[in-house]
């Protein structure tokens, strides 16, 4: 185990999702900062420098997740962002391919559909935070 534990920011307005992610990420050796919305996430960012963020696409604002992702991407160094969403399946929206070649501000590093299996998330984290 490395001396400095890496920090993951988890942002979701569903408290159960947040708690489940926190439990599993902590068990996997990560430090977790959880926030229940955009405002709380921004407040948390004042005191923490996450190595990666897991963000729900739709919180109180339709595009709340993207707005937050945009800010994280503008930080130096940019924070890898994994976006999770429950809307993709029923709307038939293919976010993953919509994001290919989308304007820069909509850039995220991975898109996962809820329900998210932890192994799936873990794979993406390992890919984005190698070593």
């Amino acid at each position: 185990m490395s001396a400095t534990r890496r920090t993951v920011l988890v942002v979701d307005d569903d408290e159960d999702f947040r708690d489940q992610m926190t439990l599993q990420l902590e068990a996997a050796g990560f430090e977790v900062v959880a926030a229940d919305g955009e405002a709380a996430a921004l407040a948390a960012l004042e005191g923490a420098a996450p190595d990666l963020a897991v963000i729900d696409l739709m919180m109180e604002h339709m595009d709340g997740g993207f707005a937050l992702a945009y800010r994280l991407k503008k930080r130096q160094p940019p924070v890898p962002v994994i976006m999770v969403t429950a809307v993709a399946a029923e709307t038939g929206l293919d976010f993953a391919s919509a994001l290919q070649g989308s304007p820069g501000w909509m850039r995220v590093d991975a898109m996962l559909s809820k329900p998210v299996r932890f192994e799936q998330l873990r794979r993406e984290i390992d890919r984005l935070l190698p070593g």
Partner: protein
């Protein structure tokens, strides 16, 4: 003055004089139709043969087609047959014009989809009368189609929201089950307990959503059978208060009933219970710990000494709402989301049910609210409901949103 909407008329006719006559008769015509908003004028286009007519239709379909029966080449009736086979169906009406106005011709043309029939020679007035009738039919058909499409859209949106609202708790429960399955994390007694408790809470939320949806659907479809009986409103209120007492007591919220005089009514008990249950659950849910909920009843049936109206007031000392939030409150699936409500579960349908029930009982719901001070809902309804004729179809007995078993 609204702008004149122009409808396109295509005349397919081999006699040039006839085309000119049609042109003259309708090009300056402006129609106003009863029941239909707006004014309608006509732009006339001409084709000398069925073949040319087909080309014009392909280029830009008209709104109304005036079609000569007897044409060189493809005849009018043949053209009609060709148009009738089109998929999707053509969006315009066809009026046949013929010098041989026989019943047989009319029958053949109508069978092939002609909307009306004009016998040659016709006067400008006759032509205008047929056009008026056709325009009216065309616009009504289009409006009906538009409404049906709109209804489909609304239905689709509603279904999408329902699906999303049901999938969220399902995902949460699934997540907890996977946690339990993974014995390393799930073996921790604290995690085990939390996973089970939270799963039960989310299942309770799903059940409430389904119950509310059923209530709402029955109300909207008129399938709900009403049982109008004589009752005392305070009795119904007491039963409903009892069902929220456990949660209220846990949070130190006092619930009081103020009914200075009897409130006799003739109404459906289940409907009143649903009104109380929804309002009381909200009043407790959106209250602060140690707050108060006051239920006030007044009025009553005329023969019981009342004024024929009944007022139910449920006032809380909770988080309240800003005016903009109040305005959105009664929409289906609207849940006021802000810092204060984030942790409060709900289906977003409770107040829709209350309002529908108030309307059904000849009344309305009013709301007064101030942020951090509290909210007061006032339902004013008629004290006496007349029993309607028994509804046809299966006797769907609505279960009012009673507290669900197993809910905390």
């Amino acid at each position: 003055m609204s702008a004149v909407e122009t409808l396109r008329v295509l005349v397919v006719e081999d006699e040039p004089a006839m085309r000119v006559a049609v042109h003259r008769a309708v090009s300056r015509l402006v129609l106003r139709l009863p029941d239909i908003e707006g004014e309608f004028g006509f732009a006339v286009e001409e084709a000398g043969s069925a073949e040319e007519g087909l080309e014009r239709i392909a280029a830009a379909p008209p709104d109304i087609l005036l079609l000569d029966h007897k044409l060189p080449g493809i005849s009018g009736v043949e053209l009609l047959g060709l148009l009738a086979e089109r998929q999707p169906p053509v969006g315009f009406l066809t009026v046949m014009m013929t010098a041989y106005a026989t019943l047989e011709n009319a029958v053949v043309a109508t069978k092939r989809g002609a909307y009306d029939f004009l016998a040659k020679p016709f006067t400008p007035e006759e032509l205008r009368a047929v056009l008026t009738k056709s325009t009216r039919h065309l616009l009504l058909t289009r409006e009906t189609r538009r409404l049906a499409e709109e209804k489909r859209q609304v239905r689709f949106q509603l279904l999408s929201v329902i699906v999303h609202e049901l999938k969220a708790p399902l995902a949460a429960i699934e997540g907890y089950l996977y946690l339990l399955k993974d014995r390393t994390i799930g073996a921790d007694p604290a995690v085990f307990e939390k996973a089970v408790d939270r799963s039960l809470v989310r299942i309770g939320g799903m059940r409430k959503l389904i119950t509310d949806l059923l209530d709402l659907t029955r109300l909207e479809s008129g399938q709900k059978r009403r049982e109008i009986v004589s009752l005392e409103l305070a009795d119904v209120a007491r039963v409903a208060i009892e069902s929220v007492l456990p949660e209220a007591t846990r949070r130190g919220i006092a619930v009081t009933l103020e009914a200075p005089a009897p409130v006799p009514m003739s109404a459906d008990r289940g409907e009143l219970e649903a009104i109380f249950n929804n309002l009381l659950t909200n009043a407790v849910k959106y209250n602060r710990d140690g707050g108060r909920v006051a239920v006030r009843l007044s009025g009553g049936a005329v023969d019981g000494g009342g004024d024929g109206r009944v007022r139910i007031e449920v006032a809380d000392t909770g988080i309240g709402m800003a005016p903009a939030e109040v305005a959105r409150l009664f929409g289906e699936f609207v849940r006021i989301k802000n810092e204060k409500t984030r942790h409060i579960p709900g289906s977003g349908l409770g107040l829709s049910v209350v309002r529908k029930l108030a309307h059904l009982n000849g009344g309305e719901v009013a709301v007064e609210s101030a942020p951090d001070r509290g909210t007061t809902f006032t339902v004013e309804i008629a004290a006496t409901q007349s029993a309607p004729a028994p509804a046809p179809g299966p006797a769907a007995r609505a279960t009012p949103s009673a507290p669900e078993p197993g809910a905390p």
